[in-house]
Amino acid sequence: MSDDKNNNEDNVRVFDVETTFQKYARRPGGVPRDRAIKYAMSRVDELKPEFDDWLDKELQALAESVRRAEEGHEARGWIDTINNHARQLRDVGTTMGSELLTYIAGSLCSVLDQMAAGAKFNKESISCHVDALFLARQPQYRGLKPEQVPELIAGLRQVLEHVSTSPS
């Protein structure tokens, strides 16, 4: 790390940094991009047989959280719990080959965010998202993109619009 220049007027110092990461990453012997991506994809593919088990557990936990919410447990807690499950599904769905799962889970996150921000609690809007997630888990929906199920997506959009315009 060496000083490059000083700007006394603004008390701003701009300097060069060469991190260990940069130094080491430039060494010869790295895995070329195409091969690295291929290796990475095959390692991720190795997880796919377990993905269904993980997905089932997440969906069951999500459904259980919704059931508890419907029984009247304290609102803030269950919104966070359901949101945590939904975020996980959203964040891994596409990577594991289910873009539709990511879409539906992302929509559910938006619904929950709206409720956390003060929109009226509407359990049907959550339940229909959970149902849609279970649907997306079915083999015939695996690998589908959102645009391939326009009616489902249109329905979710309507639900979200309804939630976002409902005052608490």
Binding site: D4, D10, N11, V12, R13, V14, F15, D16, V17, E18, T19, T20, F21, Q22, Y24, A25, R26, R27, P28, G29, G30, V31, R33, D34, A36, I37, K38, Y39, A40, M41, S42, R43, V44, E46, L47, W54, N84, R87, Q88, R90, D91, V92, G93, T94, T95, M96, E99, T102, Y103, G106, S107, C109, S110, Q114, P146, R157, L160, E161, V163, S164
Partner: protein, 215 residues
């Protein structure tokens, strides 16, 4: 509802330099990569990707408390951090790392992983001192290209009263292989939001906007 937020500076550089960058590779062997995400499953996926890239020293942590402790205890070479890492969040953690004067990890590359890709969120990440934002869900190509960009594109650091971090005024001169936007990267938009979601190409260009006088 869909929109294109285009900071036009990035694309020509990307295209012009794609062939040159395609020959580059990065060597992650013996570099300590820390993956900080509350989801053990997502962390496993990222871990697998990094292994595929040749990384052999990968650490994981689940909370920002654990992350900050790890950074105090040992040298980390690159940090992949969830923007929502509980309890503090990735932005706060990034600011804390950058502001801690006596921490040897103060200048490490920080890549924030986020599903919130609205322009305001990406700008906040940049202004907190993150080197790059990676849009979730993450693909191997997206991750490799951002790591390669951070590794192969030197950036100065700025130490100012209100900011410490990589110079926010820079331009992207292309990723290895010329990869830019990915269709699958788009965050889903289903309702009115504070701002539109950006795809990975827009995020990259947003980081480059300042030099072009557009931010």
């Amino acid at each position: 509802m869909n929109r294109v937020l285009c900071f036009a500076s990035g694309q020509p550089y990307r295209e012009a330099n794609s062939q040159r960058m395609a020959t580059h590779s990065i060597n992650l062997r013996d570099l300590v990569v820390l993956v900080a995400d509350s989801s053990s499953y997502l962390s496993t996926i990222i871990h697998r990707m990094l292994r595929g890239f040749g990384a052999n020293k990968i650490m994981e942590c689940r909370t920002s408390v654990e992350l900050l402790q790890t950074l105090t205890d040992q040298k980390i070479d690159v940090l992949l951090c969830d923007a929502n890492l509980p309890p503090l969040g990735g932005l706060m953690v990034t600011q804390m790392i950058r502001r801690k004067v006596d921490n040897e990890n103060r200048t490490i590359p920080i890549l924030l992983m986020s599903s919130d890709t609205r322009e305001t969120a990406v700008k906040q990440a940049r202004d907190a001192g993150a080197n790059m934002v990676i849009a979730k869900p993450i693909s191997p190509a997206s991750l490799y290209d951002r790591l390669a960009w951070v590794a192969l594109t030197p950036r100065q650091f700025v130490d100012a009263p209100t900011y410490f971090g990589p110079d926010r005024r820079f331009k992207i001169e292309g990723y290895p292989g010329g990869v830019g936007r990915r269709k699958g990267d788009n965050a889903t938009e289903v309702a009115e939001e504070a701002g539109p979601a950006l795809d990975q190409g827009d995020i990259d260009n947003l980081f480059s906007a300042a030099r072009m006088g557009k931010d």
